[in-house]
């Protein structure tokens, strides 16, 4: 992979009401989650104001484009969106805010029945004395209408803030995880959930570790993984016990004593964990690195990628301004050969696991005219500074790319930069290879 990345749709703002390109945004417009559905046809974004926007790719066009499809309002900041695997013509997605998970049905309608006997065109009841004959209602074409309707509300199961949801491969159950607990739900049952992980100590005074992310295995419906603020990953097997407090496997990298500081624990906290599509590997993101783990090797990661090691000497300042607590997500490409994650200054990074090459790109209005090819960026830490290099001290830490998504089959990526959504594609190769 890692061919030149082309701007596909520059700068789709989820807040489509703003006419000026550089309109200021509010906190509510900040995108908080991005997710492709299983075919890659649909892309959903959620923001802090509780809006979900769904984009659809044009299947017939030579170069896929994403059109704004639908926007719906939920209360509160949307933390995660997960699509359900498609089973019929409709699409379903799960969204969660801090407390409540909701299931939505996204359906398209392009036909409308006309010719009712008892109702008139506006839907009012007809005066029966005017009805003299029977007719069969017919379906007439109409403008495509997308309807998003809430189907289920899964509430009252979380005391702490929900940070993850994950649909199981059995397509019947899903899990929701908050800081201290993970619950298992059946998609059809809203008034009952099962608690499968609980790390809340008896005395909250003894609390030293929280759950940061969780995900089901893509193929084995009994396996799930969750990450913690201490940098550990726990693989749990639901067949072993009803309450998965005892892990099947514990993945933890031994601490490097030479690098030890008061910030060691904070930067080891895992902000995101993702199974590879194959189910063989885990991808985790902590503050400075992205790591690939082999499910069969618990004592250390398989690969470690330095995302922005130049920040290591600045940890105290980043602690002071709270940036050290930023939670970056990570993503696999469809073939599990490339991993991607965001950084500061609207930079995002991609690492090719096979060639060991990596690239830094920027998602910004200035560099993203449609069809333009993104230029690789470089951060220099002193020493020779080439033209177009950025020095560490001029990085903008308010511009962080926390949420990224990779199309399941093609080399198309969605990048959320604060309130803007960028979609990029691989210029040379539409199909994925690797």
């Amino acid at each position: 992979m890692l061919n030149p990345i082309q701007v596909l749709c520059s700068d789709i703002t989820s807040l489509s009401l703003e006419p000026e390109p550089f309109a200021s945004y509010t906190e509510a417009d900040i995108i908080s989650t991005v997710e492709f559905n299983h075919t890659g046809e649909l892309l959903a974004t959620g923001d802090k104001g509780g809006r979900v926007v769904i984009f659809q790719s044009e299947p017939e066009s030579h170069e896929p484009e994403f059109d704004y499809l639908k926007s719906l309002e939920i209360e509160e900041k949307i933390n995660k969106i997960r699509w359900l695997p498609q089973q019929n013509a409709s699409h379903f997605l799960l969204s969660t805010n801090d407390k409540t998970v909701k299931l939505w049905k996204v359906s398209e309608r392009d036909k409308r029945p006309e010719g009712y006997n008892l109702k008139d065109e506006e839907g009012r009841m007809k005066n029966l004395s005017t009805v003299t004959s029977l007719q069969v209602p017919v379906l007439k074409p109409m403008d495509l209408m997308v309807e998003v309707s809430p189907r289920r509300v899964f509430a009252n199961a979380h005391t702490y803030h929900v940070n993850s949801i994950s649909v199981n491969s059995d397509h019947e159950t899903y899990m929701s995880a908050d800081d201290l607990r993970i619950n298992l739900w059946h998609l059809g049952i809203t008034n009952r959930s099962f608690n499968i992980v609980d790390i809340k100590p008896v005395n909250m005074e003894d609390l030293t570790e929280v759950i940061t992310a969780a995900e089901f295995h893509p193929h084995h419906c009994n396996l799930l993984v969750y990450s913690s603020s201490k940098g550990t990953l726990r693989l749990c097997d639901m067949r072993e016990a009803a309450l998965c407090d005892k892990h099947s496997k514990l993945f933890e990298e031994p601490e490097d004593p030479s690098n030890r500081s008061f910030f060691s624990e904070i930067i080891s906290s895992v902000s995101d964990v993702k199974f590879s599509h194959s189910g063989r590997y885990l991808l985790t993101r902590d503050y400075l690195t992205a790591k690939v783990w082999d499910l069969n090797m618990e004592n250390k990661p398989l690969e470690i990628y330095q995302v922005h090691d130049y920040l290591r000497s600045k940890l105290c300042s980043l602690y002071e301004n709270d940036c050290i607590f930023d939670k970056f997500e990570c993503a696999w490409n469809g073939s599990d050969s490339v991993i991607m994650t965001g950084a500061y200054n609207n930079f995002f990074r991609m690492f090719d696991r096979n060639t060991n090459r990596d690239v830094t790109l920027e998602a910004s209005r200035e560099s993203s005219k449609p069809r333009a090819v993104l230029k690789p960026r470089r951060v220099c830490q002193g020493g020779k500074q080439r033209k177009d290099d950025i020095s560490v001290d001029s990085l903008d830490f308010t511009k962080k790319i926390l949420h990224t998504a990779w199309h399941p089959t093609e080399n198309i990526i969605a990048i959320a930069a604060t309130n803007n959504l960028y979609i990029f594609q691989d210029k040379l190769n539409q199909e994925m290879h690797g």
Binding site: H161, D179, M204, D206, S229, F262, E265, S269, E320
Partner: protein, 300 residues
């Protein structure tokens, strides 16, 4: 960073350079300088962390993970300070100060003992805002940014108490003859001209901070002692889960260190929920009033 448990060799640092022994003494001096710089940085990190914990309920989005990580950082620092003896010295000094002081809302109890200079010697006491932490003003900025509805000076009080009481090196405490150099207050903690300058700087911050604390306590004397809950704030956090307030007892969970006065202070600093101090088993009667003051400041 320096290995844990490294004891500072103060006897070495206090020796006058002598011929033949100069190199050894200079390298010892350098080591002392580095260590005192480290302890200043560590102290400022501790102060910063305590402010963050105190203000965590003021965040737009309450974040349990962040609070836990900060609390763990505080615990780590305290463990290290315990190991190298700093913590015990501080708590001894504090308890001595408390025993000697009158517990009135008007005065910071530790002032008399730890700050050897009387207020008269300091000249006219002009209440003016000072940086919260000795030489780094950043925590104060952070406080300001949060936009607290309470007096912006108030959150500084508990933390200004801390550097004042805990930042003192035990050996330097005996050295009362040093002149205070007010100009050192703004110096970057990185710069360490000599060990004695570090002392002066710490003492300055001590003096200034205690003055700040007195000013704050004085302020609260004038105001309604029980701050009325801000309706806007209440509304903002009306649906914040009360379980977050359990975190105020996180710091009390440090079983490894003997419970003593300072922990009560730390508890009250991080407390922002109901009955923050009732669970403390070692609440000393002579600190009750001080704790009460802390509660008011923290705004429980």
């Amino acid at each position: 960073m320096f290995p844990k448990g490294t004891k500072r060799k103060f006897s070495d640092s206090r020796e006058e350079p002598v011929a033949g022994g100069e190199d050894v003494n200079q390298s010892n001096l350098a080591a002392v300088r580095m260590l005192s710089s480290y302890s200043l940085q560590r102290q400022s990190l501790l102060d910063m962390s305590l402010i963050k914990l105190q203000l965590c309920h003021m965040l737009v989005e309450p974040n349990l993970c962040r609070s836990v990580l900060i609390a763990n950082t505080v615990r780590q620092i305290q463990e290290e300070m315990t190991q190298d003896g700093t913590w015990q010295i501080m708590t001894q000094a504090l308890s001595a100060a408390n025993a000697a002081a009158q517990c009135s809302a008007d005065r910071l109890v530790a002032t008399e003992v730890l700050c050897r200079q009387t207020e008269a010697a300091q000249g006219e006491q002009v209440p003016k805002p000072f940086p919260v932490v000795g030489s780094e003003g950043c925590p104060a900025e952070e406080v300001a940014e949060v936009g607290m509805t309470m007096s912006t000076v108030s959150p500084q009080a508990p933390t200004s108490y801390l550097p004042g009481t805990f930042g003192m090196d035990p050996c330097w405490e005996e050295d009362t003859g040093e002149d205070d150099d007010d100009d050192d207050e703004e110096e970057d903690s990185e710069e360490c001209g000599s060990g004695s300058e570090g002392e002066e700087r710490e003492r300055d911050s001590l003096v200034e901070d205690t003055r700040t604390a007195e000013q704050v306590f004085g302020t609260f004397e004038i105001k309604n002692p029980a701050p009325s809950p801000d309706p806007a704030l209440e509304e903002l956090f009306s649906d914040v889960d009360a379980s977050y307030y359990d975190l105020d007892t996180v710091l009390t969970g440090m079983q490894s260190v003997p419970k003593m006065g300072p922990y009560d202070l730390l508890e009250s600093l991080s407390s922002h929920g109901p009955s923050p101090l009732s669970s403390s088993t070692s609440c000393r009667s002579d600190l009750n009033e001080l704790d009460h003051i802390m509660e008011i400041i923290v705004g429980s």
